[in-house]
């Protein structure tokens, strides 16, 4: 029945287009229609080309004006500043190029729109021009590359050191676990074949014969002390996942059979981040939306939504199956003291397997 309706609608649309086209063409009885553009077509479309330039600029400005506030707030990690600087410089360059080239393209399409009797200029090449617009991109891109590579090496070089907090991020379908190295600062060996030991209490498959693992702490909520480098060692239990922590400008795939790593130093606590004006604005906006949505929900008999408070997020960013969209872990950045207090209230692996 539904298929029949859909087909009928399509047939009616086709008939409408046919009739509208016919009417339009009949109403221009004076001209011969070769289906090749004539001066009138060139005039109209040339002007539309220029109008389209205005549209491109317009949608750019509109998007920034309407949606500028969804962009990520200031970063909460030390290297985040370098990341954001590189981003802004890159954007400045590409916006400059975009503005100029779109203008030339669409302006020329308008200015040189065809007219019977006009002749085009036979201008086939100019090696000097080609040289100029090859060299300038080369220099610009070389600069961007060098700056980018310097920052990349800086971010991606992870040196083992005693100061850093070593944390394992353990990804599985469809949740995260974190494992702290404990007092000895060394993570115990682990492998998926140990997961079934201890009646499922060995949540991340620690090898119980490795003494380094006894003081490891496995949790489902990540806490980080502010100002201290954290080195993440990442594992996956089953398929590819990706640990994405956008506020820290951090991301690294979690690969089964491999330990990947990423390090950063958080420099804002969750409390400080909640005070950031951009974050406050965003939270207010979200809560307004949630209030509206709650009205609808309550009206239809469901429960209202909880108000939202900002928290740092770890989310999965590599397609991993049905609940890929809901694989998250809360990250709390706090003072060293708060962190110690929280850590002391957690169970070590040795305690769990008692």
């Amino acid at each position: 029945m539904n298929i029949f309706l859909i087909l009928s609608v399509l047939v009616l649309i086709a008939i409408s287009i046919w009739q509208i086209t016919k009417i339009f063409e009949l109403s221009q009885a004076k001209k011969v229609n070769t289906q090749v553009a004539d001066d009138d077509d060139n005039n109209l479309n040339g002007k539309l080309m220029f109008a389209f330039l205005i549209f491109i600029y317009g949608i750019t400005i509109f998007s920034f004006w309407s949606y500028g506030d969804v962009l990520l707030p200031n970063s909460a990690s030390e290297h985040g500043v370098d990341y954001d600087n590189l981003m802004w410089i890159s954007f400045a360059i590409i916006f400059f190029v975009q503005t100029i080239t779109q203008a030339l393209l669409h302006y020329f399409s308008y200015k040189y729109r065809g007219e019977k009797g006009k002749k085009a200029l036979f201008y086939a090449d100019n090696d000097k021009l080609e040289m100029i617009w090859t060299i300038i991109p080369v220099i610009t891109l070389a600069g961007l590359i060098l700056y980018g590579l310097y920052t990349w090496t800086d971010i991606m070089t992870v040196e083992e050191n005693d100061e850093a907090l070593v944390v394992e991020l353990y990804a599985q379908q469809f949740n995260w676990k974190a494992r702290y190295a404990g007092e000895d600062g060394v993570l115990g060996d682990a492998n998926v074949r140990f997961l079934q030991d201890f009646e499922g209490r060995n949540l991340v498959g620690i090898d119980a014969t490795d003494p380094n693992g006894f003081d490891d702490v496995v949790v489902q909520e990540l806490h980080l002390p502010v100002g201290r480098e954290v080195i993440f060692k990442m594992r996956s239990q089953d398929v590819l996942h990706s640990a994405y922590m956008p506020h820290f400008r951090a991301q690294m795939n979690c690969v089964p059979g491999m330990i990947t790593e990423f390090a950063f130093t958080p420099n804002k606590t969750t409390e400080e981040m909640r005070q950031d004006p951009d974050v406050t604005a965003k939270v207010n906006k979200i809560n307004k939306i949630r209030v509206e949505k709650s009205k609808e929900l309550v009206a239809s008999g469901d429960m209202a939504l909880d108000p939202y408070e900002f928290d740092f997020l770890l989310l999965c960013n590599k397609i991993c199956g049905a609940s890929h969209y809901n694989m998250q872990m809360k990250i709390t950045v706090e003072t060293e003291q708060e962190f110690e207090e929280w850590m002391n209230s957690q169970q070590t692996f040795a305690e769990v397997i008692q």
Partner: protein
Amino acid sequence: MSTAAAVHTEEDHGHHHKETFVTKYIFSQDHKMISKQYLITGLFMGIIGIAMSLLFRLQLAWPEQPFGIFEVLLGKWAPDGVMDPNVYLALVTIHGTIMVFFVLTAGLSGTFSNLLIPLQIGARDMASGLLNMISFWLFFLSSVIMVMSLFVEAGPAAAGWTIYPPLSALPQAQPGSGTGMTLWLVSMAIFIASSLLGSLNYIVTVINLRTKGMSMTRLPLTIWAFFVTAIIGVVSFPVLLSAALLLIMDRSFGTSFFLSDIFIQGEVLHYQGGSPVLYEHLFWFLGHPEVYIVLLPALGITSEIIATNARKPIFGYRAMVASILAIAFLSTIVWGHHMFISGMNPFLGSVFTFTTLLIAIPSAVKAFNYITTLWKGNLQLNPAMLFSIGLVSTFITGGLTGIILGDSTLDINVHDTYFVVAHFHLVMGISALYGLFAGVYHWFPKMFGRMLNKNLGYVHFWVTAVCAYGVFFPMHFIGMAGLPRRYYTNTAFPYFDDLADINVLITVFALIAGAAQIVFLYNFIHSMFYGKKTVQNPWRSNTLEWTAPIEHFHGNWEGEIPYVHRWAYDYSKPGHEEDFVPQHIPLKKGEEELQH
């Protein structure tokens, strides 16, 4: 058989045999018919691909909202009209697969390389009509298998068009990774065979069968583009085939190429020693050149259409050829930019950033050359020309964001977000698609002997152009906000609640864009039968295909094939009355061929 660029005489006409309906329309070995077969199949697959995208865009704009259309089209996958998360992933997977391979590779290269290579270089047909026919029918078969995979009980492949293992290797990880994935792999293996056969034909034909006077430096840029594209294809598609075969072995024969240390559904699997990162390398070794296999033909078509419609030579022919070659070469050494945060050694990240930003240079040169071609032209703004100009516009916008993504540092925070989705849709989904449309509008008279309706063409272009930017420009913002791709919904994170409006805007534009394509389809089908009959050379173009008679027959030209005396871009050349001088017109006394 005569050697390169030899004179073709009556004997080389090929056999005149009695044609039946089957040998003319179905198992045809004539390149013109095969090109039409590719086009129709590609358009049909495109309809499926676009329909899928509209379905998942509905889901994204109004998440978990019941839709009657879901129940109708998705049946058990949309209980009570709410889309199942697994089928959301299947839709995006098959959408991507169909669009990249079946529409933009086979539909674009298959159609126009087949139509234009023999006609523009002055050959009777492809080097091997038989291989050409087989290549189309393999493509058709792979399309059928891909569509069949949609009806498998546990669902089609759903691990993204990139189908990374272990997700794609283990049916326990995802229902679509069972039979659906097997069919996907079979379909793609056949597709690759089809593509390789086609590419071999194109390369051999361009090298061997050019008519007298058609030196490589007089080739139209379309032929350069198709030729180089075929070479890239031959180099890179076999690597995807190898990845697919190794994946089949991991899935069905217990090997561990890509798998190691996996615990799933309550058991430790036996695989030891493999790495998913190996798969990523193999996949992207094709995957990156693939996007240039998609783009280069579109760029070649644009060069041709802009020059013809601007009534001016394409600016910088040598630079355009050099940049095609540079892009082709560089495209084989940039694949790691898809893998910056895959866990591979960060040093590789540096290497690939370097090569990736290099590839921006020939792309930039092309864009500047297109713009300069327009300068002081006499622009005939036919629909094909509008799409070509639109291609340059979206190629610039999309290409520029590639500079952000190609920088390993910046990729850290935008990898696999909607920023990437916006980027590749602008360059492939819009730019390359515009190339396909431009080619259809421009060569429809050559293919079907009739003209497409230009007013409907204008409507098609302008609505699509506005919607294209409407869909993909705002998408950059949700990417920069941190929203990952391949998410069934963003309602699991209150943090993303403020992105809902943008998603609605994008979907509305997408629905309008979808509707605009109906105008094109109507125009295409109607004009095929009732369009205005074309004249010999409706666009007053220089290239050889317009010297062949309107009615198709084997062998393309009655009598001798035209000899070529000049390049393809003598438009508005001083000293000539007409504003175009086709390639087969001898030089006038005292006329110099342009040294370029």
